[in-house]
């Protein structure tokens, strides 16, 4: 058995590998996040070589997005998640009730299954720690992070690319799954993570939040401030979590409410063009 420790947005988690498989070769995207062993972890995930018996699986919620889907449910008292890619089962995650211990069975230790298990465990184990795993593309500019939100297919990555192309000094922080954390002093920080969708951008960096922009495709580039309720709705839609577990819902609500109250949040109707990036940048960068 081998344990590897990772730190993402200041929270440490441990991955336990079994046997002799050389899966660490596949885990290069996690390498920037490797940290020293500690007992102070938010969760531990064990890679299991034994399939999980699904006879008593009770399904609660199905979440689908771009050919991927997660069936969330439970086996007896234990939360359980099935991960599918294009309809094919790639992994099963079984958790302890407090989401601090997990076991993933993924055939051939496939990375899709392991990534999904780690993301789900991370989101669940940090729900009550003023921390949220987002669905967003993020750039940094003048030492602040600018987050782009929107449903899949809206053009979040495209908008980041436009900043990179036309606004000098912009860098990509993460293209799909950044983490946002509210610190004790009330400041909101954005962190890169080992998960970034189709773009290989696994940077262990952090920036204070500059602004959050909800994107919508439109025939013209128009930007306006989001009303607080609209901002909250945009955050709900963009944050991963098990909202139907009332214990976790409280934490998610607290995080979302604080961000909606304190962060500058905007709505950008946009085309995929240079002007969109310029209008956005000139308005949201103060």
């Amino acid at each position: 058995m081998k344990e590897i420790y990772y730190k993402v947005a200041g929270h440490v988690f441990a991955l336990e590998t079994v046997g002799n498989e050389s899966i660490e070769l596949d885990l290069w995207q996690y390498e920037p996040f490797v940290t020293d062993p500690t007992d102070d972890v938010v969760f531990r995930l064990k890679l299991s070589s034994t399939p999980i018996d699904m006879d008593n699986f009770n399904m609660e919620v199905v979440q689908e997005d771009e050919g991927q889907s997660i069936n969330a449910g439970h086996i007896d008292e234990h939360p359980c998640f099935q991960f599918f890619l294009h309809g094919k089962l790639k992994g099963v995650l079984l958790c302890s009730k407090d989401y601090q211990q997990g076991e993933i069975y993924a055939e051939d230790c496939n990375l899709f299954g392991v990534n999904n298990a780690l993301m789900v465990m991370y989101a669940l184990a940090t729900s009550n720690k003023l921390t949220a795993l987002f669905h967003s593309s993020v750039v940094s500019y003048r030492d602040r992070a600018y987050m782009f939100l929107g449903p899949s297919g809206t053009g979040k990555s495209t908008h980041s690319k436009l900043w990179l192309q036309y606004i000098e000094g912009t860098e990509l922080v993460n293209d799909d799954n950044p983490v946002v954390r509210i610190l004790n002093d009330g400041t909101i920080w954005v962190y890169g993570s080992p998960w970034s969708g189709k773009t290989h951008c696994y940077r262990n960096v952090s920036y204070p939040l500059g602004a959050i922009v909800l994107l919508a495709q439109a025939p013209a580039n128009i930007i306006r401030r989001l009303k607080p309720i609209e901002a909250y709705a945009a955050l709900m839609m963009s944050i991963s979590g098990k909202r139907w577990d009332s214990r976790l819902a409280e934490g998610l609500h607290e995080t979302e409410n604080l961000i909606a109250t304190h962060a500058p949040m905007w709505h950008l109707d946009c085309l995929p063009d240079e002007e969109a990036a310029r209008v956005c940048c000139e308005t949201v960068v103060s």
Binding site: E60, V61, Q63, P228, I229, A231, Y232, A233, M236, M237, R243, W244, S246, A249, H253, N257, A260, T261
Partner: protein, 90 residues
């Protein structure tokens, strides 16, 4: 009628909002704003379980200075809105 399971009254940036947070409502996809009075009636409906327009109108006349006729009409309009939004079942 009865409030559907999985809807939670939240305070969001100082406003009262109904949010879908249950396994059956987590993909509800919208937020419903309630004013102070509607929020009081929502909590009353929750407390009652099965409730009628008349019962909520009673609660309204107890809490606020409003005559019964007006209360009935207001509650009817409010609960019709809830029905339209899919927040209640019969």
């Amino acid at each position: 009628m009865k409030l559907k399971n999985g809807f939670v009254l939240r305070e969001v940036c100082g406003e009262k909002v109904i949010v879908g947070e249950g396994a059956e409502t987590v993909n509800f996809g919208k937020l419903i704003s309630l004013n102070e009075t509607a929020a009081v009636l929502w909590n009353k409906a929750l407390e009652l379980g099965n409730f009628t327009v008349e019962q909520l109108a009673d609660a309204l006349t107890e809490e606020y200075e409003v005559n019964r006729e007006q209360a009935l009409s207001d509650v009817k309009k409010l609960t019709e809105g809830w029905q339209e939004a899919g927040l209640v079942e019969s």
